[in-house]
Amino acid sequence: MTQALEGIRILDLTWGVAGPLGVLLLAEHGADVIKVEPPGGDPFRGYPGYKVWTRSRRSVVCDLKHDAGNDAFGRLAQTADVVVESFRPGVMERLGVGAEALADANPRLVYCAIEGYPRDHPLAGRPGYDALVQAASGQQWEQPGWRPGPIFLHMPMPSMGALFLAASGILAALHARERTGRGQRVDTSLLQGAFLYTTQIWQDLERADESFHAVMAKTDPPGIHQPMIYECADHQYLHLSVMSGLEPTRSLEEITGAPASPLQIDMIDWSDERRAELAALQRDAYKAHDRDEIVGALQAANYAVEAIVPAHEQFSPPHPQLAANDMIASVHDPDLGTTTQMGVPIHLLRTPGRISGPQPRIGEHNDPIWGGELGYAADEIAIITAAS
């Protein structure tokens, strides 16, 4: 079946989180992605999530630091529509394969760089590991936790933002190329990825009153959502949310045994004691029920609520919505065996996405690409793929 990016070739020189995952969104909609790895392989391969994040692509090895590998990469880049890399600024230029050099040989090339920081930022060139950018962006100070001070975000949030910026920037540049006939440079960074997730909490309006800035301000306990996490009888947790868009068919009190919170506006003149009393009643009520029982009863009555689970429990036992919407995939990995992992998270109905294969082994496609396609002989491939 036709896929959206059929005929688009992407050379993926990225490592870490943002690059591999950003490329994944394109790979599983038909792009021909070739992961270009140094001898010995991408140093992040040992990270477990890499089995998911680098699937659906082929792998070649070449050492950009010696002439044979560098020349071979240059030839491969002439066959590509997109090159994506996440080296520190200037590394590709020093190797003679920077955006300008590659565009000279292939003017239709879209060149995407994912850095830690924008090129002219004072921290540009410093290491851009995700947690460092969490720190530098202000995200760590913005998140409340179990103690004062900045909080380490388990989810690599700057990277999880930059992946979308890279993928959308590349696609926008490919669309522009339809009209101009030329590629261009696309730049984004983990810092910009961190800012993507500030839109609901960082707004500065000159003439806004306090109530504007009070909504979604950092508070302890954090915000309106954290207090709606409840512990149940079986010491499992659930998260209740404020609306499902549908009218409840039974009252919250009837289901849980505790009175529901009145509307904010009706609680305005409540004392702190009275609020705490109600909150305690509600907490106690959930402790009388096992989690799955009460979550099921609430959902059946049109409440918005979810069980809080460890990450692997989204797949097994499967969340019914992930199962019903083709979001749980079984992938046979040549090293691990049968794996259960995320499906394809963008659902195009005419040109469906698909997982085209497991994570490739290091240099698995050296022969078909360096040999079959570019015509290198076996001894030449040995040199291209060897460390300098």
Binding site: T2, A4, L5, I8, L25, P48, G49, D120, A131, L132, S137, G138, G145, W146, F152, H154, M155, M157, M160, F164, L165, L171, A173, H175, A176, E178, Q184, R185, V186, Q192, Y197, T198, T199, W202, Q203, D204, E206, V215, M216, P222, G223, M228, I229, L246, A304, I308, P310, A311, Q314, F315, S316, H319, P320, Q321, N325, G337, Q341, M342, P345, R350
Partner: protein, 384 residues
Amino acid sequence: MYALDDVRVLDFGQYVAGPFGPMILADLGADVIKVEPVRGDGMRLVGKPYFGSQRGKRDIALDLKDPRGHELALALVATADVVHHNMTRGTATRLRLDYEACRAVREDVIYCNCYAYGPEGPLSHLGGLDPLFQASSGLEYDAGATHAGNMPLYYRFGMCDTGNAMLSVVGVLLALAHRDRTGEGQELWTSLLDAGTLFASDALIVDGAPIERPRLDPGLHGLSAGYRLYETADGWIQVAAIGAEPMAALRECTHAADDDGLEDAFRTRTSQQWRSTLDEAGVPNEIPYDPDAGFGALSDPVNVALGVATELEHPTMGTVRQHGTLVELSETPGRVQGPPPLVGQHTQEILTELGLGVADQEELREAGVVTWPGDDYEERYGEW
């Protein structure tokens, strides 16, 4: 020229997951028309999240339930490349604005629905907000170090909303790439649920058992002795000693015998002193920046100069600061096209483009089918 300046997007979305994607498309140059209820988008009252998802759009206020309003909406669909919304399952059909209805007036339309739960399955009729999907994907479990006995912890960034919206941006652009090549439009969807799953996609199961993933310590400092926050004499420092060499350098420059020793060592000197020492030793580090509830970060001259933060002039709220365009295209740069619009700010302009004369426009406004800002604006909508 802008990358998407030949693309028109009709945005019927509300809250965040709906409108944020079209806003990003506007930043890339698209002509985005927000189709807003005559009474105003309910989200306007919520403040920050509303303002963060609406800039750069034109706004027509339209009663979709009125037959003439519906007719105008379809007339707009006929001019649109993309129709985008986050209505719950069945709502668009009830409004006669589902894919089939839109396709009937615009054969090659790209039609995107950002769901909460996706179109199939036992919960697909329910809407839902970001916290549900931080729960379902395991993000809250990991964030709070619940494995160690803590409560789960909600991330206040609301990133399942934003992630759903960004999946839709990528999806729309994928569909556009297909249309560029074949002339064919299509329907697509994304969901809050899938965004959460993407964020926790390193959780995989091998032969029935979950693989080991890095976990937070109960004090939420980090994932290992080399990749964590340390408290210093006057604050904090984030260290990223990834690999054997930086780790050895970390131990050497702190003179710490073991991991507990590292904690003690860091408390003896200030963050700035440690930054110099670690830099010299080749140990990656940063001092966590306190963004002052965002006000500091958004007015930081560095962020402003780089366009990471942007400044807009809003007709009633004055100067507005928020994040800027976050991806740079060298030949077709992005741009922030303007502040969040008032309710119906561009109604007249858009109706004129559809060929309606002034008298017809006034009549529709009299009948409550459309509206645009008048002297009674603040009375009707407040300052938003």
